[in-house]
């Protein structure tokens, strides 16, 4: 909470800190953001220019929010807000300043415009993004490098009609390309989060829009998990007291049970990064142990752990597919262990003090391979922790309320989790680097989130 208050206090001190803001910018509305840790001067300023066409403005609003949620820019609101008319001049009129790079031109002369760069620089912007209509149903997004005084890149994409179910994903994908063009990093805009609510699996866009039911049967479902290609996911359903695993295609919605599962209590599926293998937990009278099954050929059940007097569960692959982190009760309380993907070389992963440290559960390996997020019982409530894979140092990430079931965004910097900090359990997203937190879904009872990788274009073709 101290960090939060500090953040609020700093908000009012906005305009003094960027070297490029040396001019008098006291008249500029920098926008008000509540409840974040604000680190002035670190993040580049970004202006998303207003557009005055309804469909494009919807795209612009989604795009601006995605860029905001990337937590990598300081979004700047223009004086006068969105009602301002931005005048641009044709790109030929004034040549871009030296240093402006990127793929400009290329036929779409309508969008190849230039801005009054000194003005935007005075506003504190490093980048300005303009959305314009291209030929047919395409859109052109121009990323201006304000400091360099030129167009950094011009992005073209087919933009389905506003009512088309693929519209949002197409805009999210443009937002990720803007981020890539501006900073050279991958975004998380074109992603979705699967979660469980009322015993069913739902999907929701990372910006909180477009919630929909994806598990269709009446059977109680749990444990959704994404394949690394973003085209399939898996989850478990209770069938006659057994746990049966299913594979479901994102595009078609078609699903099929996983071979060799469903005769016991099978749960917590996890795809290997190459998509050929599914690791999962199986509870029998011998206890709970980890198995793998070849989902390419639907065969070849393999047992990875032999617990007998303790349980092994909740597998998560390292992104190179070589290792599996998992939960084991071999030392008494559940803690985080790691082994080679074939079950050999099992060892403790997240250190703990025997008799003092609480139960640790729900590990998820980050997409960059460097950390494993999990939750741990601290004084009777759960908190999210991050394990540094190289140093094996453990860091507590949350402290307000009960926080559990962390799941990484593909940028390995954002994380969705379940928290009751607002009074009831709901889904939240945290930027691990800045500590900025936002609710993903303001509904009680949502849990077990699973954040997708960047979704392929095909996922947008059907709802």
């Amino acid at each position: 909470m101290k960090r939060l208050l500090l953040g609020l206090a700093v908000l009012s001190a906005g305009p003094t800190v960027r070297p490029s803001d040396a001019q008098d910018t006291s008249a500029i509305d920098r926008g008000v953001r509540i409840g974040i840790v604000y680190r002035p001067g670190v993040r580049p300023g970004m202006v998303v220019l207003p557009v005055h066409a309804p469909a494009l403005d919807s795209a612009r609003v989604i795009l601006a929010r995605d860029l905001d949620y990337s937590d990598r820019f300081e979004l700047i609101t223009l004086p006068g807000g969105d009602s301002i008319r931005v005048t641009t001049t044709a790109s030929g009129a004034r040549p871009p300043a030296a240093g402006a790079t990127g793929r400009t031109g290329g036929g779409g002369a309508a969008a190849a415009t230039t801005l009054n760069y000194p003005l935007y620089q005075a506003l504190g912007a490093d980048f300005a993004v303009a959305v314009a209509a291209g030929s047919g149903d395409s859109a052109i997004v121009t990323v201006h490098d304000v400091a360099a005084g030129g167009v950094r890149r011009e992005l073209r994409a087919r933009l389905p009609a506003l009512k088309d179910p693929g519209f949002r994903l197409a805009v999210h994908q443009l937002a990720d390309r803007v981020l890539e063009a501006a900073l050279g990093v991958g975004g998380t805009a074109a992603t979705r989060v699967l979660f469980v609510m009322d015993g069913k699996v739902y999907s929701i866009d990372q910006d909180g829009a477009d919630q929909k039911l994806v598990s269709s049967s009446d059977h109680q479902a749990m444990s959704p998990a994404w394949a690394a290609d973003g085209r399939r996911f898996s989850y478990m359903e209770f069938w006659q007291g057994h746990g049966r695993l299913f594979l479901q295609e994102v595009a078609s919605g078609k699903r099929a049970p996983v071979a060799t599962t469903g005769q016991a209590l099978d749960f917590t599926p996890a795809f290997s990064p190459d998509g050929k293998t599914l690791a999962f937990s199986r509870a029998t009278e011998e206890g709970t142990d980890l198995y793998t099954v070849n989902i390419k050929d639907g065969c070849c059940l393999q047992r990875l752990t032999v617990g007998r007097f303790y349980d092994n569960l909740s597998p998560t692959y390292s992104p190179d597919g070589q290792r599996i982190a998992f939960v084991s009760t071999r030392a008494g309380l559940p803690q985080i262990y790691v082994m080679a993907a074939d079950g050999t070389d099992q060892q403790l992963f997240a250190p703990f003090d025997y008799g003092a440290t609480g139960s640790s559960n729900a590990p998820e390996w980050s997409p960059d391979g460097q950390t494993v997020a999990f939750h741990r019982d601290v004084g009777g409530t759960l908190q999210v922790f991050v394990l540094d894979v190289r140093t094996r140092a453990v860091r507590q990430l949350t402290s307000v309320g009960r926080n559990e079931d962390p799941t990484w965004a593909p940028d390995s910097r954002h994380m969705a989790f379940v928290s009751d900090r607002s009074g009831y359990r709901q889904l939240w997203i945290i930027d691990v680097e800045t500590g900025r937190i936002r609710p993903l879904l303001q509904k009680s009872g949502a849990r077990l989130p699973a954040w997708s990788p960047r979704l392929p274009e095909i996922a947008s073709s059907t709802p």
């Binding site: 015993g199 749990m222 007291g241 057994h242 009760t329 139960s359 559960n361 729900a362 079931d405």
Partner: protein, 205 residues
């Protein structure tokens, strides 16, 4: 027996007297009276027989009714016993937080189930393990599994064939009490027992 010879003797005397008597007295009986008497007697006999038969029929009917009633009563009794056994069988056992150890008091509850399973060899049951909401959702599936298995191991160690008992776990997915306090949690940390087959009529142990 003494009176019979005397009667015989007097009869003989009478015959001898009659045979030797000169003038036989008019001995024409009054046939009407005799006939009337015999008719009455016959009628009475018939009436009595009829009444006897009726009574016997009534008695028989009553007996049959009684038998039927007895049979029905015993069926009801059997049904009552099945119901009672079912209730006994469904008695849940409970666990401490994050534990799968059978509590001392619950051993007696499991002993009852052992006795019921012994008295009803055709009976098959399913034990489902459940948890409260406090632990991790997925870990609770493993914990519930251990709770169900613990009860099964107890019953099997008391002589019941393991193939008659199935175990499942629902973790914290099917709470019995909806509250978020220790009272609700204590109710939710449980094993449930349900009949899979062979439970149509159950004998008291």
């Amino acid at each position: 027996m003494k009176r019979l010879p005397l009667l015989l003797l007097s009869g003989l005397v009478a015959v001898a007297f009659a045979a030797c008597g000169g003038k036989q007295p008019e001995t024409t009986p009054a046939p009407a009276a005799v006939n009337q008497d015999s008719i009455d007697a016959a009628q009475r006999a018939a009436e009595e027989a009829r009444q006897r038969a009726e009574k016997e029929a009534r008695d028989r009917e009553a007996a049959e009714r009684e038998a039927r009633q007895r049979a029905a009563d015993s069926l009801a009794a059997l049904g009552k016993s099945t119901e009672a056994v079912r209730t006994l069988l469904a008695t849940m056992i409970h666990f401490d937080y994050d534990k799968a150890i059978i509590r001392g008091g619950d051993a007696a509850v499991l002993d009852q189930k052992v006795a019921i399973l012994q008295a009803n060899p055709g009976l098959r049951i399913r034990i489902s393990g459940h948890c409260d909401e406090r632990g991790s959702d997925e870990y609770n599936l493993a914990l519930g599994n251990r709770r169900a298995t613990a009860a099964k191991q107890y019953v099997v160690s008391h002589g019941i064939d393991g193939s008659r008992i199935e175990t499942v776990s629902y973790g914290e997915e099917r709470p019995l009490a909806q509250g978020h306090d220790e009272e609700a949690w204590a109710q939710n940390r449980r094993d449930e027992f349900e009949i899979l087959s062979g439970g149509e009529s159950l004998k008291q142990p």
